[in-house]
């Protein structure tokens, strides 16, 4: 049994530590906020200019001046601070954010990441993704292990090298998929290592669905 989206988010939440400042991307990464362990203090950063992001507002209490980077209405917390976009990316680029969890289209075995454009399709832009992966201390990707194509076939997303335009080079530290967890030695020669299997998933299944080279060191 492969992991569900929520199980992937729950696994990603294990990378949180008390006192961390964290930026969560759209999609599965957003779900990670549901799995912050009791008693642990984690401040969520929203790159449009806020630290200490609270939950969605109650109906009728939406404030148009209070949104997250996905343009969704949110709420503040007692710890909240607001700041400009340049201050926000100053804390991102300056390495002050501990952890960034985001989605991906492709990840290469050396930590290269592609998640912002598909040539020939309407390009929406990279938003803050390039800044986040270049500046945040630890970058965790959460994604489906393979891409499902329109004709029903599957394409590998963990590759030797990305063929889509890159978001960053040698930036990814960890990849959590529905099948397992990989670490990447992005600055060294260590390459990619499979460290955990999802419940009921075999090494063989992962091997068959992964194009990039990886070592196995299950823990």
């Amino acid at each position: 049994m492969a992991w569900t989206r929520d199980q992937m988010a729950e696994r990603a939440a294990k990378e949180l530590q008390d006192g961390f400042y964290v930026n969560l991307g759209i999609g599965i990464p957003t779900l990670v906020s549901n799995y912050i362990p009791d008693g642990m203090t984690v401040q969520l950063q929203s790159e449009n200019g806020m630290l200490g992001m609270g939950p969605f507002p109650y109906e009728g209490e939406e404030d148009p001046d209070l949104i997250n980077a996905g343009k969704q209405t949110i709420t503040a917390l007692p710890t909240t601070s607001y700041f400009s976009s340049s201050d926000s990316f100053g804390m991102i680029r300056g390495g002050h954010i501990n952890l960034s969890i985001l989605g991906a289209m492709q990840v290469a075995q050396n930590g290269d990441l592609a998640n912002w454009m598909i040539p020939g399709k309407m390009v929406k832009g990279m938003g803050g993704a390039m800044d986040l992966v270049a500046g945040v201390k630890k970058v965790v990707v959460v994604m489906e292990h393979v891409a499902k194509n329109k004709d029903g076939s599957e394409s590998a997303k963990l590759l030797k090298s990305c063929d889509l335009p890159l978001t960053g080079t040698q930036v990814v530290d960890m990849v959590i998929t529905d099948l397992g967890v990989f670490t990447i030695d992005k600055h060294g020669e260590g390459g990619m290592t499979l460290v955990e299997l999802a419940d009921g998933v075999t090494e063989g299944e992962i091997k068959a669905k992964t194009e990039g080279a990886f070592a196995v060191a299950l823990r």
Binding site: I26, L31, S33, I74, S84, S86, T169
Partner: protein, 245 residues
């Protein structure tokens, strides 16, 4: 010198010309200078280069200027929510220069602070770095990015005084403070216009030196792009994550 003008049209009088570069504050529809955008639309000025993080949505914010084809080029980080934008872009009628959001913010900050260029790690080894100078510092690779300076900046603030001192509200601050510093002329629209001394000088975000003209815009219903809520009976907090975009 009087900075206060009676309405958006008067505040933009003599400032607009075809082919000019305009910075517009806001993130999505949050903190956008919508009244000033409407006045720019009404003026009919065209061939504009507009620097703004997003391009509004259809018919709202900068979406207004797209509908009337007054924009020739956008410099933005994300333009996902605008069908008219996509149509003009794919049809070759509109040029777009994508900047990483933090690089865009810093280019504007640098432009306003008299810094012609700076180095950043962001985008090294990607399309964004193509044709740009790169340099190694302390074993890390950086891309050189240029400062941005516009003919006109339009910003939205919550409070302002007649001297042009501004205070923004919550996440409606976003790109407004940097843009206020990075143009030959900056025009601010404020929800509450007060007399000097009524704002706490310790809490002013944009000092009046950056604001040449200011208008009071009546408080009205602000637009929400993604209305997300939780039910009152919910005991557990709903997810409210940020976004990579």
């Amino acid at each position: 010198m009087k900075k206060v003008h009676p309405d958006p049209k008067a505040a933009l009088d003599g400032l607009l010309h075809d082919g000019m570069t305009i910075m517009a504050g806001g993130f999505g529809l949050c903190g956008i200078p919508d009244e000033l955008i409407a006045a720019i639309q009404a003026s009919g000025v065209k061939d504009l280069t507009v620097i703004s993080n997003n391009a509004g949505v259809d018919g709202v914010g900068l979406g207004k200027l797209l509908e009337t084809r007054q924009i020739r080029k956008m410099i933005s980080s994300y333009v996902g929510e605008n069908k008219e934008f996509a149509r003009q872009y794919l049809g070759g009628e509109l040029e777009i220069e994508f900047n990483p959001q933090g690089t865009l913010a810093e280019r504007i900050r640098a432009g306003g602070a008299g810094i012609p260029a700076f180095y950043t790690k962001t985008g090294y080894g990607t399309q964004v770095a193509e044709g740009k100078e790169t340099k190694e510092f302390d074993g890390h690779h950086y891309v050189m990015e240029r400062g941005l300076f516009a003919d006109l900046a339009i910003v939205h603030a919550y409070q302002g005084d007649t001297e042009g001192n501004l205070i923004y509200r919550k996440t409606a601050r976003n790109f407004n403070p940097m843009m206020a510093t990075a143009a030959k002329v900056t025009v601010a629209q404020v929800e509450h216009l007060v007399q000097p001394g009524e704002l706490d000088a310790d809490f002013i975000h944009t000092p009046g030196i950056f604001i040449k003209r200011i208008i009071h815009v009546p408080v009205r219903e602000k637009q929400i792009e993604q209305r997300t809520t939780r039910k009152r009976k919910d005991a557990a907090p709903a997810a409210a994550g940020g976004g990579a975009v």
